[in-house]
Amino acid sequence: MTAPPNRVPNASELLAHPDVIQAMDEAWVDSQVNDPSLRHEEGGWIYFDLTTGVIVLRRASPGTQSRLPLANPPLLLNHVIVGTFHTHPNPASAGWATGPSSQDQRAANYTGVPWLIRAEDGDHSTGPDSRRGGLGGGPAYPP
């Protein structure tokens, strides 16, 4: 019998997790980055099973050209949110900054979990290195 996990994964571990990579790959495809009139942000939330340590992902509704609401994550029994992910579909060649926005940084620090970002130049993260308060604090964003 495996003991329950004693800590949550950090941003680097999340970015290297196969399920997170797959979810970000799918979000990138769904963002329609090659169509200037249709490209938009996609993303969602990353959960951690408090018993098994398994990573679970849930997608948010599609966003718009440059924003994606992440305020109301679905709550999963016996899981905590350990991160969010979203795409930056607009290209640097059109003058867009590809890394975390000032809003991303503020929101990540406010929610208390790392925010992962997929852009044309690779993956980025902002906010805390791992969920504020670790395994505690309930199923939503940490208090």
Binding site: E41, G63, R67, P69, H86, W96, A97, S101, Q103
Partner: protein, 79 residues
Amino acid sequence: MATVSPGGASLAVADVLRIAHDDAQRVYRDLSGFKITLTPCPDGWHVDYDLTDPLSAGGGPHYVIDRDTGNILTRRYEQ
């Protein structure tokens, strides 16, 4: 029209906002949900578009506009 003159500049606030807004509208198309801040600074007017929803991913445009000529000196399109 009334003007606000940081350091003796003559460009009206409304003109600064129009210059920024024209560019922002062209690039972002939908400017609803943004709080717009205009700040007179030594290097020009700083015009910042920030989302009002604190838990949205995303971003807006940020400009520095010459306080005399109205030229956009720097622009940053955040997403």
